[in-house]
Symmetry: C2
Subunit: 366 residues, 2 copies
């Protein structure tokens, strides 16, 4: 079956419960964890063809195919499908929402069993290893011990790296795209402004906005509009919008096309994402520092093979940041398959199909 | 007298009144305009040694010296003084707050004579030429017809360019630092997010916040924190703050030093700048497009000499944007004194003293 997947459904699995709680790396416990996930393709009888897809900061489990009644295909639909780079005729693909997210996996808006209310800011701070732990429990639930590959872009790639450190040899092939082993000061600065916008919104109510029947929509919108600028390139904005106006006299309305584009990005984000999840996952990223983690030493001699891809116009996680991972892995004995791919689309290139990019992944997974 | 200036005072002049209103380029009139300004040095008997200093988006008239009781020197104190690049032993320096500003010159918080209330969003949209017109009226008030030089960084440099177009030959030497003839789509995008943060703050009250006894402090703070990232370089943030933390467990507080820095930038800005002025002046910048202005043709054959300086780490108004001005001027017959100066400090380099920068200005003004 060549091409796009048909209808798919998001499923749920309970992976932690009172008698088997999830102990977080920071020490706290979650007594109940549910995971939202999707699968595409068939698991082989030998259970050796599983590929795990890790999503980025604001992604979800719906990576490919269509939901019934929906028109928009999964966020990585161009990569995953029959005869695509992640070939669902060959692989059993698992895509799951992150711990701390807002699309079906336990997160800060989930009910705290201790109080019966949403956690809000009582939700614990998370470590990248905690995201890995939840997805490993999902794999166990699915009866899978070993991954043919784990594939992720941005935060997703960082999760793959942590996974390879936390559980050496569970992943045969680790595909990291447009990521970093640690955020730069500038990366953290942008995160800090986004959080400031969210938390200073009067409708944030100290994270108890659900109790007030509101969401900090203004702050979340501003956060996303700003972040979106860092996901694309100046070159892309210039060629797509330039200084084109929508007509009329100068005003504080949406005068320029690029403003209209950002408005759309901000508004649609508020409709699909949660402010607390944004806080928790962005903070987790700030603290991520893979090669300062003692577990990085487990990479020495482990059998996982790594492929790393950066994009030349990505200024959020630029080639230098990706190359640092290559060098740190090399220092631990790994011969990494690295390339910088040309693409004018900035960080978001990992969701697109610049020439050479999908071909690299296809080859590496073969 | 070598070195820093002593005490200086901000003065005010009325430059438009009911019988001599300021007709704006967009057609509306301001029936009363006051300008805040400072002067340093002595005007020569021939009145031929005046240098006009144009400030950037959020600057003010206090460019050099000390105000009585204040500890902080003027924002361009390192450039202006006895034997400094803009030598107050030789030049009579005039520095004035912009129309639309909030530091003594008429702006959106000024009283609208028609209503007796602050203008708020009834203040007219401004064109760069309007800022020039007000400062030209100030010069006339001071009895000055001709400028030995006009010097400006960022928006200030753009004002100098507009001035040279609007009134050919009034400026002998035009010094433009770290500016652009027109904002890029990315520049406009950042401006748009800043305005979104301000205008969506519930305390903005459609620009009538003064009537409510509040200011849109949250939005203005977020706007500045974000904008500040674009004023510095990633390299500077990395070397100065890196990933240094302030201790403690991960939280949504100010965990990283770079966050503390941004908090300080945001908070101190709210104390000194007005939200409406930010809207008006940032919007004016969005619309600025010097060489699309028919008046640019007046540059052909005009006697003004131009010096343009960019900084290699400035990604707000990068070397390409500065070079475009050089090329447009060259196409109109000007041999521009251009250089890209090395500095790790990003756009804000124009306020600092990277090697070679002040020397260039000193030479050019000689």
């Amino acid at each position: 079956m060549t091409g796009a997947l048909g209808y798919v459904e998001t499923q749920r699995a309970v992976v932690a419960s009172a008698d088997d709680p999830l102990v977080l790396r920071g020490g706290r416990e979650l007594p109940y964890v549910e995971v939202a996930y999707e699968t595409y393709g068939e698991l082989s009888p030998e259970r050796d063809n599983a590929v795990f897809v890790c999503h980025a900061l604001t992604g979800d489990a719906h990576a490919a195919g269509l939901h019934l009644g929906d028109k928009k295909r999964g966020w990585w639909d161009n990569l995953i499908g029959g005869s695509r780079a992640v070939d669902t005729d060959r692989f059993f693909v698992v895509s799951a929402n992150l711990l701390g997210g807002c699309s079906g996996t336990t997160g800060p808006l989930s009910l705290d069993p201790a109080t019966g209310r949403p956690y809000g800011l009582d939700f614990p701070q998370l470590h990248m290893s905690d995201l890995v732990a939840v997805h490993r429990r999902l794999l166990a639930h699915l009866g899978i011990n070993r991954l043919h590959a784990a594939v992720g872009g941005s935060l997703g790639g960082m999760q793959v790296l942590q996974w390879a450190m936390d559980v050496p040899d569970q992943i045969d092939r680790a595909v990291l795209v447009a990521c970093s082993s640690r955020l730069s000061a500038e990366n953290i600065a942008f995160s800090a402004v986004a959080r400031e916008a969210i938390m200073s919104d009067p409708q944030f109510h100290d994270g108890r906005y659900v109790d007030h029947g509101v969401v900090p929509a203004y702050g979340l919108k501003v956060a996303r509009m700003m972040a979106h600028i860092t996901y694309v390139s100046g070159e892309m904005l210039e060629s797509r919008f330039g200084r084109r106006r929508r007509g009329g006299e100068p005003s504080f309305d949406v005068d320029f096309e690029v403003e209209s584009y950002l408005q759309h990005q901000g508004t649609s984000f508020v409709a699909r994402f949660d402010a607390l999840s944004y806080l928790y996952l962005s903070r987790l990223l700030d603290y991520f520092d893979a090669f300062a983690d003692p577990r990085a030493e487990a990479l020495r001699g482990c059998a996982t093979r790594f492929q790393i891809t950066s994009f030349d116009s990505d200024w959020r996680f630029d080639t230098g940041q990706n190359r640092r991972i290559v060098e740190e892995l090399a220092a631990r004995g790994h011969d990494v398959d690295f390339a910088e791919v040309h693409s004018p689309h900035g960080h978001d290139s990992f969701l697109l199909e610049p020439p050479g990019y999908h071909e690299r992944i296809r080859e590496f997974l073969r």
